[in-house]
């Protein structure tokens, strides 16, 4: 199945696949954000592939590499019993890939988590809001430059007071 899907994808999108990675029996296709939607549509609707289930959307911060972020889409074919991973590098988190809500309604919900904790915006997803964190939270904690602890937590009411005594360079 790994090879069948690779062959089909190469045939349908000859330019789109930047890299194919095999690690521990898992196949990853590295693609760019512009091709995400047509590739997913193809993977979902092709009768021999039928990747009809999106298991997970998960963001990864690769700091200090460039592009800094990467999104992993774990797609599952229930009829053919197979999993693949699409990996989409994201250089600018404000200009993230398009939402997959038109293919799988659950994608909206999964993308909300990614935005809240990693701060990657999905084009066309209008529900991006604070989900786990309080509504007035600033920053995205899963980013590598977000400190884990030993740091005063800034809420909106004491943001400036704490900011004034923080030891980093101010502009």
């Amino acid at each position: 199945m790994n090879d069948a899907v690779a062959k089909k994808l190469q045939a349908a999108f000859p330019e789109a696949i930047a890299e194919v990675i095999d690690f521990r029996g898992e196949r990853t296709f590295v693609i760019d954000a512009g091709n995400l939607l047509p590739i997913c549509q193809f993977l979902r609707d092709d009768p021999e592939l039928r990747y009809n289930f999106v298991s997970d959307i998960c963001a990864d911060d690769m700091l200090p590499a460039y592009p800094r972020f990467a999104l992993n889409y774990h797609l599952r074919s229930i009829p053919h019993n197979h999993v693949i991973r699409l990996r989409v590098p994201v250089a600018d988190p404000e200009q993230g890939p398009p939402t997959l809500a038109s293919l799988w309604p659950v994608a909206t919900w999964l993308e909300m988590e990614v935005w809240d904790l990693m701060g990657i915006r999905f084009a066309g997803n209008n529900s991006l809001r604070r989900l786990f964190l309080p509504g007035d939270w600033v920053g995205h904690p899963l980013r590598k430059d977000y400190p884990l602890g030993y740091e005063e937590v800034q809420f909106s009411f004491n943001w400036e007071a704490i900011d004034a005594r923080k030891p980093y360079a101010k502009d």
Partner: protein, 419 residues
């Protein structure tokens, strides 16, 4: 890292009802001004934890609904990045606190996949027994609280009585009732005590009669049938596109169980069935889980027959610490022991995704190693979180009393939703 606050960010606490509706915009556009907006939870017994729902009601009918979560967020994924692979294990117990064994398994399997090792046969068999015990224990809490929500109080008391026995078994093997952390990368924390096998045998002897008791209380009970039949129905196709997994998916007739499709721990060698229902309503999900308990008993029985003496950890001193007895005799053992408990083992660069069938559905763990003893990224695909996404779809058009039945039937645990 200065991020300026905008004026809108500052007024969250003082939102008016209209602004609240606008804020929950996508899921929450008010249909008519006559409708009532009700905040249900977060301290509400039938939301199974600290789930808050914003419900738009027309009389008693649910017109629209938005989930508000995050009251239990503890930053598990971020915290794990700062711990070694072994120490990060304890965080996984706290996700789905009703089935900590399953969470341990998902994470440990991902670590083992990243390292490229496999646990020895005895450890695998013990893991299977405990995983299925955890499944039964979790289903007992689900059944008890689900029935309690629908006013069948006695079922709750019976279920918790039997669950106590399962927790006692966990305490026997792991020293902890709930936060077990018993599975370790490469095997188990220690071997099971002598009393383990008799205790499981006793469980297999008395538990079938108990399931029969619960079924006698509910299966043909007219009140139960009326409260669950044709409520919150979803078709198999919709269930797939909404990402439902576990009994919630199988209740809609989709034959999908990760123990069958992507077997781990040797599940492919066990003889068991995947219960399927076709109606997709609350009753179908209830019936699926009840039948799953019988199948779990079958698996435990087969696993018990395969439990042979042997090592419970892999023989790789770079991953598993040496046995206590060796420390007095071997200098190398002391060095390995010291290195493992101070620095930990390093995993190669790369990323893996490992999913298992937890009592609630597909529990997936994405793990990226970067050659250091600490994971570079851990992400959990938790079944409760994804299953909750479809709640507005399931609940639309039902009575608010039925909403309680639907929440119970998708079996959520807020610990793993909020993480």
């Amino acid at each position: 890292m200065t991020i300026p606050i905008t004026a809108e960010d500052d007024t969250v606490q003082e939102l008016t009802v209209e602004e609240l509706r606008a804020k929950y915009g996508s899921g929450m556009t008010i249909e008519s001004e006559e409708n009532m907006l009700l905040s249900m939870g977060p301290q509400h017994p039938s939301t199974h934890g600290v789930l808050r729902l914003l419900v738009e009601l027309d009389g008693e009918t649910v017109v629209n609904l938005a989930n508000d979560i995050g009251f239990l967020h503890t930053g598990v994924e971020k915290n794990m990045e700062a711990k070694t692979y072994t120490k990060a294990l304890v965080m996984t117990d706290r996700l789905d606190y009703l089935a900590p064994m399953s969470n341990n398994m998902g994470y440990v399997l991902a670590v083992e996949k990243l390292l490229g090792v496999e646990a020895p046969p005895r450890a695998q068999v013990i893991r299977i027994i405990l995983l299925e015990m955890a499944r039964i224990g979790s289903h007992l809490v689900w059944l008890g609280t689900h029935a309690l929500d629908l006013a069948a109080m006695s079922v709750f008391l019976y279920c918790f009585r039997e669950r106590e026995y399962i927790l006692d078994v966990f305490e026997m093997v792991a020293g902890q009732r709930m936060m077990v952390s018993y599975f370790r990368p490469g095997g188990l924390w220690r071997d099971v005590p002598e009393d383990f096998v008799p205790a499981i045998r006793q469980f297999l002897d008395f538990f079938p009669a108990k399931i029969a008791d619960y079924e006698a209380l509910l299966k043909n009970n007219p009140i139960w049938l009326q409260r669950t039949k044709d409520i919150g129905a979803i078709s198999g196709e919709d269930a797939i596109s909404w990402g439902l997994t576990g009994a919630s998916l199988r209740g809609s007739g989709v034959d999908w169980d990760i123990r069958k499709s992507h077997p781990y721990m040797g599940y492919e060698t066990y003889d068991f069935e995947v219960p399927l229902e076709t109606d997709g309503d609350v009753y179908a999900r209830y019936h699926c889980r009840m039948r799953e308990m019988w199948q779990s008993l079958r698996i435990i029985e087969q696993a018990l027959a395969r439990l042979k003496p042997g090592p419970i950890n892999i023989d790789d001193r770079k991953i598993v610490p040496p046995p206590r007895a060796e420390l007095g005799r071997s200098m190398e053992a002391v060095i390995h022991h010291f290195k493992l408990w101070t620095e930990g083992f390093s995993a190669p660069t790369g990323y893996v995704y490992q999913s298992i069938e937890s009592p609630r559905g597909e529990f997936g763990c994405y793990l990226r190693g970067n050659g250091t003893p600490k994971p570079a990224r851990v992400h959990f695909r938790t079944p409760s979180y994804v299953n909750l996404a479809s709640l507005p779809v399931l609940a639309k058009g039902t009575f608010i009393a039925d909403l309680v039945a639907i929440i119970g039937s998708i079996d959520i645990v807020l610990g793993e939703i909020d993480r």
